[in-house]
Symmetry: C2
Subunit: 408 residues, 2 copies
């Protein structure tokens, strides 16, 4: 076991730069290198690290220099979506375990390549799906394990986040979402909701995704937003956005559960992952933070949903994951209410201990492939498409890892 | 204009019997006949009416006797789903306008027959979709009309109601749901959520449903419920229920909106119609009773949905439908929080005034046809199916009626 790990960070946009700050707070993490294709981002991050009393890391605009740097134990990849898999593959090939930020894939082929590279090199990539460490997601997973909800029949979730500003000002902010929203129409960001659901349903561990279909609304939100903002007119006044406002995806699992995913990023709304789990004995629903159990006490108020708003909180003491029983201010402030701290720790602990990560290439491939498959389904009028089994049958006998507290 | 109307009531199960009580409170309604295929139900309703000081109506087990009774102005049909359309057609053919309770159709053919009979006889049938008169549904319709939510892109709704008890004890209670849940797998009850949405989107009034598809979960809830109740074992211990626990249906409209329907009746849960309207300027969402508008004041709290719970109530004063500004205790206690009173008044006023009803055969056909089409889609693995235009092109030039306050 290592006492500390030497890491490189590739991609210093919004996500990368904020995660550097979290990692810089961890005493067992040495940031040896930082990289972005824009030099000014590199300079800014180095300045911030040095200003905070950290040693200056090597800075570069070429990620290969990070992978070739002596002593690097692992890299964290937070580039644009298009480069995630390519860099993870290059990293594994050089013997360096990678932590890859979330996003959808572009082709089924790159999902297979991710898997094959792991199988050929024996070096892992972990997908950094922070929502797998969300407080409610972990609590509900616990409740499912203990049978509180009975047999699980249906799960749903969404990435419901008003991103009009981020997308529209993508040129100014050098953000990859803009070009993706212009060119594609798909479930472009499935993993925040699908990751926790896949873990709950044992996907790749005795269960698997079998088939799926997607339908979409029209694209009205972005165009309306551009019209409202005069400064966007020169660059986007005549732009047609292919990405529709609402994309719905249905996945069927081998064990018979139905999963509903929603991408909802171009209309005004509050943020919600809409995390919902339905079983024969009860439910959890994020909208309203509702727990409802098949008991007289609940049924007598079934007509007044207000009575159940906020009830999720009451179950936290009994069912929260141990990680969420001992949170510190530092963890909670790390980002996204604490999830970011835990996902980084999960990765760092895997590197230190030399164990396999809790979210592996099979998970990444199964979750990321939803994006190109949703594109295909929509192009074919909502047709049902098969989902590959990236484990090649191994899912039947795999059991979830149980090396440390971060295994989920 | 008539001062009072003479009505007959056909179907005296749970719904019919409770609606008789509401109608009996209306001074301009004379209940001339009551009918059910079970004599004891007929006897009980007559006894109750007489006990309440009303004249004894004619009682019969043959609905033709009601249709043939001299002086009948209209009939209200609350039989099992299977007989709704048949009796409405017989009624129209005898020159008697009918009020038909809600439910899905069994075939596309019966939807056409409903429409053709109206067109041939000139006698109307009104569909008694009470949820079109729900407080929030009417408020949101008003807000949509006034542009509060901008261009509407997506609407969703559900019939989410734990009916396990009603279904499982269907033999004892002589309830038609039992046989339907054993034999069919479909969106069997689409209109509570689809009716209000169709009115908001102007379906049959410049807009129409174009195509749809349905997917479903497995069927686990009913079997689990039967196992839990020993008294059900003799009759249902070996029964396989075809009806799945969750059925999702997507409808595309000619104007480009996407509609999502959910049937959710076999798992423990609180009641919710999940009524949701999404536009380029804001949203209403029943779960949490949330209004969210595209304004700074809202956006600054976008990460904390709790701040918006119950906000719908704050918009009631400004946007409630006039009907909901002057409710009396009697109306609110009439059933389902007041909706039942309004839908009955809408029907009675149409009969008294000799005007066409606010929910006509074209609406009924468009909403009810979702049931057989969902069956077809599910049988074909979620395939997209076309939805007929029951107006034969007339929808392009139809405008919503505006005869009285009940027109929606």
């Amino acid at each position: 076991m290592k006492n500390s790990v030497n890491i490189g960070i590739i991609g210093l946009g919004g996500r990368g730069a904020s995660m550097v700050e979290v990692m810089a707070k961890m005493e067992d993490v040495n940031i040896l290198a930082v990289c972005d294709k824009y030099q000014d981002r590199v300079d800014n991050v180095i300045k911030k690290l040095v200003g905070g009393g950290r040693p200056a890391p090597m800075g570069t605009v070429d990620y290969n220099e990070v992978l070739d740097m002596p002593g690097i134990d692992s890299v964290y990849i937070a580039t644009d979506w298009e480069c995630h898999v390519k860099i993870a593959i290059d990293s594994m090939k050089k013997g360096i375990p990678a932590a890859m930020e979330v996003g959808g894939a572009y082709t089924i082929d790159e999902c297979w390549e991710l898997v094959h590279t792991y199988e050929e090199t024996g070096v892992w990539t972990m997908m950094m799906e922070n929502c797998c460490y969300g407080e409610r997601e972990m609590m509900v997973h616990n409740m499912v394990r203990e049978g509180v909800f009975g047999d699980i029949v249906f799960c749903s979730g969404q990435y419901a986040h008003d991103l009009r500003d981020e997308v529209a000002y993508g040129e100014k902010n050098r953000h990859y979402r803009l070009r993706n929203y212009i060119a594609r129409n798909c479930e472009n960001y499935p993993t925040h909701e699908l990751g926790p659901i896949a873990k709950i349903l044992g996907i790749n561990y005795g269960n698997r995704f079998v088939s799926m279909s997607s339908v979409c609304s029209r694209a009205a939100g972005m165009e309306d937003f551009v019209k409202q903002h005069k400064d966007l007119k020169p660059s986007l006044g005549n732009t047609k956005f292919n990405q529709t406002d609402i994309v719905k995806t249905f996945i069927k699992t081998e064990n018979g559960e139905l999963i509903e995913l929603t991408l909802d990023t171009c209309l005004p709304r509050f943020y919600s992952r809409g995390f919902t789990v339905r079983g024969t004995k009860g439910l959890y629903q994020e909208d309203g933070d509702i727990v409802f159990l098949d008991k007289k006490l609940y049924r007598k108020n079934e007509w007044d949903q207000k009575k159940f708003w906020g009830r999720g909180k009451k179950f936290a003491r009994k069912y929260n994951h141990p990680l969420w029983h001992d949170t510190t201010k530092e963890m909670l402030e790390a980002g996204h209410g604490g999830m970011d701290w835990f996902i980084i720790r999960a990765w760092i602990v895997s590197v230190k201990n030399g164990t396999l990560p809790p979210i592996d290439v099979y998970d990444a491939a199964a979750w990321m492939c939803i994006t190109p498959l949703s594109e295909l389904s929509i192009q074919n009028g909502g047709a049902t498409v098969e989902i590959p089994d990236f484990t090649n049958g191994k899912y039947k006998n795999r059991t979830p890892r149980n090396d440390n507290i971060y295994d989920i």
